[in-house]
């Protein structure tokens, strides 16, 4: 049943060895799902993908579920945007026995969002998001729910197998999470497209640098007040401009983490200092000062810089008091 899902579903034990991978997972990684059982996670993902996911894997194995959107390259070499969830698998005593990973490819949705330029396109986008929510419900959630019900029915005829019980709970959790995703898509039809703007900026910078970017966002971007969204765009523009001054950049990673209390935007690369001096990030620091946030820049002597902008989320009604004055001209970015 799980092999018919378009979404990737796989489970791993605490030693990060594969317990189960569905057909979509095998297709994504270019591996035989049956041969994946017992395979170390790092070997299945490959070094680069494993490095990108390591923090989320560790969090799930520490009992903390993670959900995020991320741009990655699959086995076929195609750049895909994915919505991923890392769910801890728990024993009866609450101990973590492994993790369940589920990944849904949302590239088409995002590409349509990127093409959203006017009111007509926005209406089309709303309809498309509605259709996607319907698809996620009618195909992914319903199939997963059916698989869970069948598993549950099978367990009624024999003494419950602890592994099957855990799988059942994981499926139920995934159903709950999918429900949240569907509702988030449906109830965010009037979103301001912050994700799309950020995505486009990162893509532009990555193209200029000749690298494949890793873009991750966590939490609800739609909950970011519009004025803070404009600030984040300005900060990202400045941070990416700084990266383009570095030499031999082979990796560019951008992460936006949103909680109801604060937002953190992190831009990191592995480049060496360039001929031009490192910028002092005047605009970013000024915006952080106005918002009660902070900027941190760390450099690795072996090469690589991480710039982080963290700020509290203000009350939306009063946020226009801190009008962002971007360091760059943003009008040119809204192509």
């Amino acid at each position: 049943m799980l092999d018919r899902l378009p979404a990737i579903v796989a489970t791993w034990d605490t030693d990060e060895r594969c317990r189960y991978a569905n057909a979509a997972c095998g297709r994504w990684l270019g591996l035989d799902p049956a041969a994946m059982v017992g395979m170390p996670l790092g070997e299945a993902l490959g070094a680069q993908l494993y490095a990108v996911n390591r923090e989320d894997i560790a969090a799930a194995l520490a009992g903390r579920p993670r959900t995020l959107d991320r741009v990655v390259v699959n086995a076929a070499g195609h750049r895909r945007t994915c919505q991923a969830g890392y769910v801890p698998l728990l024993a009866d005593d609450g101990g973590v026995t492994g993790l369940l990973v589920h990944v849904t490819d949302i590239t088409e949705r995002l590409e349509r969002e990127l093409g959203n330029q006017d009111a007509l396109a926005r209406e089309a986008l709303r309809a498309e998001r509605h259709r996607i929510a319907e698809d996620v419900h009618d195909v992914v959630l319903q199939d997963l729910f059916a698989a869970g019900l069948e598993l549950r029915a099978g367990m009624a005829e024999a003494p419950p197998n602890p592994l099957a019980l855990r799988a059942l709970e994981a499926i139920d959790d995934a159903v709950t999470e999918l429900r949240s995703t569907i509702l988030a898509i449906e109830e965010d039809l009037a979103g301001d497209g912050l994700a799309a703007v950020l995505h486009r900026l990162v893509e532009q910078a990555a193209n200029d640098l000749g690298v494949v970017p890793v873009l991750t966002w966590r939490g609800r971007l739609d909950a970011v007040p519009p004025a803070l969204g404009r600030t984040l765009v300005a900060v990202l523009v400045e941070a990416l401009a700084a990266v383009t001054r570095h030499a031999r950049v082979g990796r560019l990673a951008v992460e936006l983490a949103c909680s109801p209390q604060e937002v953190t935007l992190t831009v990191s690369d592995d480049g060496a200092p360039g001929e031009l001096p490192a910028p002092d990030l005047v605009g970013m620091r000024r915006l952080a000062g106005l918002r009660g946030g902070e900027v941190s820049v760390t450099t690795d002597p072996r090469g690589g810089t991480t710039t982080s902008f963290r700020t509290p989320v203000p009350d939306d009604a009063t946020d226009d008091a801190v009008a962002p004055t971007p360091h760059a001209d943003l009008t040119g970015l809204r192509r």
């Binding site: 419900h137 009618d138 959630l141 729910f145 019900l149 029915a153 499926i171 159903v175 999918l178 429900r179």
Partner: protein
């Protein structure tokens, strides 16, 4: 799962199982939910896979309870409930859905729907809602 009470020892009356119509488009979900309801002692008298079929089934079978998936191939389960609330007010209606928005829940309850139950593998919430609704719909 609890069996529907059939009366205590020494009682002469036998409680008839509550009659239920299930409207659910996914074949495997429909099959498994039917088994779940029957295992709980409920009498699933008809099943349907779409709004039109559900409408016909409820009007023909006149069950005590109709369990309706909200997302059906030919429309929203809540729209079917709106129709049934007028045509068969004696049938208790339950919306059972993978995802129902707050606005839809509000509308369903305003129509007189007995409960809006999210799909869960535990099943206990659905069974409790059906039993409660069956108790209310009987004279």
């Amino acid at each position: 799962m609890d069996e529907e009470s059939a009366g205590g020892p020494g009682t002469a009356t036998i409680t008839r199982p509550a009659r239920v119509v299930l409207v659910e488009d996914h074949p495997a979900v429909r099959e498994q939910l039917t088994a779940l309801l029957r295992a709980a002692g409920l009498d699933v008298v008809a099943v349907a896979g779409d709004l039109r079929g559900g409408h016909d089934a409820v009007r023909t079978a006149r069950p005590e309870v109709a369990v309706v998936d909200n997302r059906l191939p030919d429309g929203r389960g809540i729209d079917l409930c709106a129709l049934l609330a007028r045509e068969a007010p004696e049938v208790a209606l339950i919306v059972h859905s993978g995802a129902v928005t707050d606005a839809e829940t509000e509308r369903a309850l305003a129509l007189g729907v007995a409960a809006v139950v999210p799909k869960s593998l535990r099943g206990s919430e659905l069974l409790a809602a059906v039993r409660h609704a069956a108790g209310r719909s009987r004279p």
